[in-house]
Symmetry: C3
């Protein structure tokens, strides 16, 4: 997320109770998770093994739990609990804003777009032209929707990322990483009934142009779905997965987080994709492999009793 | 779908820009996909290999992309793009009608039926007697619901079929086949929270008398579910599947499209049914087979290391 | 369920048309399924093989379909159809109460709690302090929600148990066991978009303190989920399952009914848990076993062709 206006590191230090190290006069222009940082951003790190990655990233302001040497031109905000400081800043600049009506006055709705009854449109939402938003859809704050988009009834666009930090020493162990990303839906997308698309933790969840999603699909936080993809019902996509253009996922497929499915890949029904796979191929199984060898494995399994009989003289289990 | 009034083939030719061949004076009484056509219907065909099937079907008016010999008594509408012409006719006779209120004035609601708050009832919907429609349910236009039906909160009945034609030469590749079928729910059906039932492309999606569906179930377009079926949560049924009476599907089962599950079959949890199966039996696995042999396969797999040791003298992987 | 006021067995006999046997003057204080009965409760039994279990349970009043010897101090209500009598009593004391507004006047909402637009709150619901209930959520009657709870859009809390008695000799075969249990959500729980949590048949469905549920999760009737659990999207939990504290279920996991998952267990994505498993271990597969041996099985399967070749001299399928 980028801020609407730059924020001084001195204010940030005071707001979070952190000690300022390095450049003490610059301004932050945004806040992001480590894998999304760009120049001017605040990020945080709280494990020693990730210190170098964060200090050498594009982040300009780093919230850190140890006073280490500050890279040239950067600022450290040193505090015992960088996670809590990061969340505090996110909540300050992207607070929960209770709605006063079903359709926020700050929403921008394009010409020719129909909002059916029972649709909730949050604050700072943009919806393009010639869209149909069917009844009882919920669109959270800051969502951006293109033209010619159809969203079927009961969908939820922009709910919070499912992302927590575990604190084993507390009674309530999971601390929520507050989300400040958005959902961006490009032109000509159709979304089936009851599908949910979560916002990114700090970046955006994106549904590419012309992609069609069936019912009951789950798209995790920060996933980036390409153009002209087709996902059948009850498929789930983990957080930050990248699905390239023209990928076809059949029903009840599960895709793990933090991976890439290459362009034009096809995944057969009920398969589970645990790690990145190349495009242009067909996959099957849980965990999935290429479909043909996987199908042959099923045939080989049926031959085990014959092997057993050949060696032991019987097929009894 | 049948039209409310017959439509002349001359008007159809003009409306779609098609050339009229064969009988030029008759009237169309409906429009249907090829597998649903009856006498008087318009249908379409755009692949040469399906020409004969379509020309010899019950369809009376055929939209086709080549001027072939017209069967006796039929009419051809010859156009470069039969799909687009078909969709144009569907949209003309089954247009999207924006709602002006949560419950349409054209809906017919039976005596003793309770609509809880937040229920959307579309145009031309019929709901029988003594039903309970729980909050935030969406019922799309043209749905028909019998007596003593219970629909739990958040369900979506009658969303569009997930059915597209791919055009690889365009930027936006998937063209939507507009749906003109309906959802028909018979008496004494109960539908769990968040379940979605799509309308048929041109025919009806049917839920038979006394069938009980759990939560988060997906019923695809044009599926026909028999009487006294029991489907557990998160199960998905593909388009045009036929599930005969008294079938029991346990949780997270996936059923592919265009197949039949015979009467009284039982499918165990998380199984996937890829093709038609006989009734009266129990199935398991993904892809599923009869449950007992499938369970035995799992036991045989555990014996592979013993076979290996017998032959190679060790069990190391 | 406990009654608000005790009910005399004479009134019960008259109301259900049952014959009174044993103590004819006492009062019932509640009604429960056999596995939930406590002293003073009504329960029912209609299979001879379960007679002893029910007669010797904590139930004080037993609806039974045969006039057997009545245990000391108890009361029998003898009727041909105990199920129907039980359901009739449940419906009398926990009737469906149609709502007159989106938020019932009988609901108690704590300070600092935000109900977003489109939220339905049923009768006799309690919601604690500092909660956020996002748009289009449905909360059925009698639900109890603690403090600091976040429920994302489209969730359904407290729908009826999916529990039916089959009557093969009737046209409509499934008789509904009316639910009188509740959903209890403890403090600091977060529930993802479109998740459904059913009420218990007679006891309560419980979500323990600090537990986080992702989107599209199904929690069956009477399930008891511990503290600090983490369930990923599209996971389903069967009725009356007990999930102990700190259990982690990854995406699309299925858990059968009537079992226990021990404290701290981890279940990998798409796995199916068919029976109770110990805590502190990681599970995988459908049906699941311990993850490491299950993963090794997958490697062994790939070796079958080598075994076959060694014995038969070829690898052809």
């Amino acid at each position: 997320m980028k801020f609407e206006q730059p924020v001084s590191v001195q204010w940030l230090a005071e707001y979070t109770g952190a000690k300022l190290v390095g450049n003490t006069t610059q301004e932050a222009t945004g806040i992001n998770e480590i894998h999304k940082v760009t120049n001017g951003d605040i990020s945080f790190v709280d494990f020693e093994k990730y210190y170098n990655a964060c200090l050498n990233s594009a982040a300009t302001i780093i919230i850190i739990n140890k006073e280490v040497e500050c890279p040239e031109g950067k600022t450290l905000l040193v505090t015992d609990d960088p996670f809590t400081a990061y969340v505090k800043i996110v909540k300050r600049f992207r607070p929960f804003e209770p709605a006063s009506s079903m359709v926020s006055e700050t929403a921008v709705i394009g010409e020719g777009t129909h909002l059916q009854p029972g649709v909730f449109v949050g604050n700072h939402v943009t919806i393009g032209r010639n869209c149909i938003i069917h009844p009882n859809v919920t669109i959270y704050d800051h969502t951006e929707i293109g033209d010619n988009v159809i969203i079927h009834a009961g969908c939820v666009i922009g709910a919070d990322a499912f992302y927590f930090k575990r604190r084993r020493d507390r009674a309530v162990q999971y601390d929520k990483l507050e989300s400040c990303g958005r959902v961006i839906i490009h032109n000509d997308v159709e979304i089936g009934a009851g599908t949910t698309i979560d916002k990114g933790v700090s970046g955006d969840t994106i549904i590419g142009e012309g992609t069609k999603l069936d019912n009951h699909i789950h798209i995790g936080h920060g996933a980036v779905i390409g153009r002209n993809c087709l996902f059948a019902a009850q498929t789930g996509i983990g957080g930050k997965a990248i699905i390239e253009d023209e990928v076809i996922l059949w029903g009840q497929v599960g895709v793990s987080k933090d991976l890439t499915i290459g362009k034009g890949a096809v995944v057969l029904a009920q398969s589970g994709i645990p790690a990145s796979v190349e495009g242009g191929k067909t996959y099957f199984g849980s965990p999935a492999g290429e479909a043909k060898p996987k199908m042959r494995e099923l045939a080989w399994i049926k031959r085990i009793p014959d092997l057993w009989e050949k060696i032991y003289g019987n097929k009894s289990l």
